[in-house]
């Protein structure tokens, strides 16, 4: 076996660079996604330090990254949690969808995109990054706050909307005449419903099929199953990512919990490669012309997400400061906006650069604004906050 020195070296340097940037980002409780994108831009074509040898690996890794992102998204999904969120937050979910998808759709229309481009851009501005938001709430110690269930409910409803949206978008993006598209959409929706049914009625049986006390066995089985289903899905012109998502949806309970734990490190690695690949695929020279549009879109959808969060929190009876915290928490867009572009990106010249810079802006602005949101002034002020004396 010949050891590909150039590939190892380039990959090693890239990963080390990502690690340094990631550490910097974490220090300021920022999301590293924006920095990964930036690194991708820097090492891509037209960037400052091209990496020809690692290109092929990054491309393959990115495909696996999308599959793992969606597999874990499917695993996160639990019908019980969804039902609880539904009971209280259907209006919040509607407000979320209308307020945040509309600006994307209008922007797509103004930029002269076709139907699929408009649909994709609407999805990209709609979906908050559950990865960034959940991490942020945990890092800022806000999981105990009263506004947090409202924020998490909105995220769960968004994930559910993605379950219907992504397969449909994937089918539409694969092209064909109108009746093929309709058949494809019906098949996609059918597949999602089938996955839900399987998960609801036979989830434990399926879980027993892949479950194994040994973590290594569990990892190999779930990953093997997901990749095979993903390949089959791609083969029938659905999307590989959607196939993996369906596998994730069908696994529930203890198996899902353990699978999440064993898959997470792998997902983090390959998701980083995916963000890198998105950066790689965009020529920095293409970013400049779309930057004004991305900034305007970011500004508008920043405000609409804040309104969404404030509305959702107010339904739970949260006070003024909590409403601001909920509003700003939802701003960040990230992985799924990029997944959407990954599904249709090659069909559109402007969509890739536009959404990349859009995510770049909001993946940074979201965490910064959330940190600035009204919160207790710091440990020094504890004595004044009226709590009972320590003795």
């Amino acid at each position: 076996m010949r050891t590909p020195v150039a590939l190892l070296l380039e990959l090693g340097v890239i990963l080390a660079a990502l690690s340094v940037l990631g550490t910097l980002a974490r220090r300021f409780t920022l999301s590293p996604i924006a920095l990964y994108l930036l690194t991708g831009l820097a090492v891509g074509e037209g960037g400052i330090a091209p990496v020809p040898a690692a290109g092929e690996f990054v491309e393959t890794g990115a495909a696996i990254g999308v599959i793992l992102l969606l597999l874990v998204l499917g695993l996160e999904f639990s019908l019980a949690e969804f039902a609880v969120s539904m009971r209280r937050h259907v209006p919040s979910a509607l407000v979320d969808a209308v307020l945040n998808a509309a600006p994307g759709a209008v922007a797509g229309w103004l930029l002269g995109m076709d139907g699929i481009g408009i649909l994709a851009l609407a999805g990209a501005t709609y979906i908050s990054s559950s990865g960034i938001v959940a991490r942020l709430l945990s890092d800022l110690h806000r999981l105990g706050n009263r506004e947090t269930p409202a924020v998490l409910s909105v995220l769960v409803m968004e994930d559910c909307a993605m379950a219907a949206y992504l397969p449909v978008l994937a089918v539409l993006a694969s092209g064909g005449v109108w009746w093929q598209a309709i058949l494809g959409v019906l098949a996609a929706v059918g597949a999602v419903l089938a996955a839900f049914t399987v998960s609801y009625r036979w989830g434990h049986h399926l879980g027993r099929l892949v479950a194994h006390p040994d973590d290594e066995q569990l990892l190999l089985r779930v990953l093997g199953l997901a990749l095979v289903v993903a390949a089959l899905a791609e083969f029938v012109h659905a999307s590989a990512a959607v196939g993996a998502f369906l596998v994730g949806l069908t696994l529930t309970g203890e198996t899902a919990t353990r699978t999440r734990a064993v898959l997470s490190p792998l997902r983090d690695l390959f998701a980083a490669v995916f963000f890198l690949a998105i950066g790689l695929s965009v020529d920095p020279a293409d970013l400049l012309p779309v930057l004004p549009a991305a900034l305007a879109l970011a500004a508008v959808t920043l405000v609409t997400k804040v309104l969404t969060g404030r509305y959702a929190a107010s339904r739970d009876g949260v006070g003024r400061r909590g409403k601001w915290r909920a509003g700003t928490a939802l701003i960040a867009r990230g992985e799924f906006s990029l997944v959407i572009v990954g599904l249709v990106g090659t069909l559109h010249d402007t969509l890739g650069p536009l959404v990349t810079s859009y995510v770049f802006i909001l993946a940074i602005a979201g965490p910064v604004l959330t940190r600035l949101a009204p919160s207790r002034p710091g440990p020094g002020a504890d004595a004044r906050d009226g709590g009972p004396p320590a003795s």
Binding site: E76, S78, E81, F82, V84, S85, S130, A134, L137, S138, H141, R142, L143, G144, N145, R146, E147, T148, P149, L152, S153, L155, V156, T257, A261, V318, G319, R321, G322, R325, S375, R376, D382, R384, D385, G386, G387, P388
Partner: protein, 159 residues
């Protein structure tokens, strides 16, 4: 005391209660097994101040420290829900046949069908004791089983 349970979708659960002193306390239980203890100030009742973060092992230790005196009581509650199953307490008298011998030697479960679920030794509670745990005079065994089973264990221990 009422404990409110709030679902945190995708994260876990939050438990909340107000202590007798009027302090509102929250416990965030993550799906990953970590716990966070928060208290809510008067200034912004929506915002919790994080007091303590525990991994699952530390949380178990704290639960054992805080909850140990209540363990026997809780077993008793449990048996109310299962008809035919009762909890009983059997004392190992100092100098009796099993004073200083491992629990396994009593072969209580195989002989009576009743299980020794905890050993209370003064302030200390050994929850789910193993057959290798050595008994001492003054220990109180918490036994769960049928009435006959518990009577059987009592007979064995008395010798």
């Amino acid at each position: 005391m009422d404990v409110t349970e709030v679902l945190l979708p995708g994260v876990g659960l939050r438990y909340e209660f107000t202590s007798r002193r009027g302090e509102r306390v929250g416990v965030v239980a993550r799906r990953t097994g970590e716990f966070e203890l928060v208290v809510y100030g008067a200034e912004d009742p929506d915002e919790g101040r994080s007091v303590l973060q525990l991994d699952s092992e530390e949380a178990d230790a704290v639960a054992e420290i805080l909850g140990a005196p209540r363990i026997a009581e809780r077993f008793a509650d449990l048996t109310k829900e299962v008809p035919g199953l009762v909890a009983g307490q059997v004392e190992v008298l100092p100098g009796s046949a099993y004073d200083g011998r491992p629990l396994g030697d009593t072969r209580a479960r195989s002989r009576t069908g009743a299980s020794v679920v905890a050993v209370v030794r003064g302030e200390e509670v050994i929850a789910s004791p193993t057959p290798r745990d050595v008994l001492a005079g003054g220990d109180v065994l918490v036994v769960i089983g049928t009435h006959e089973g518990i009577a059987g264990v009592e007979q064995i221990i008395r010798g």
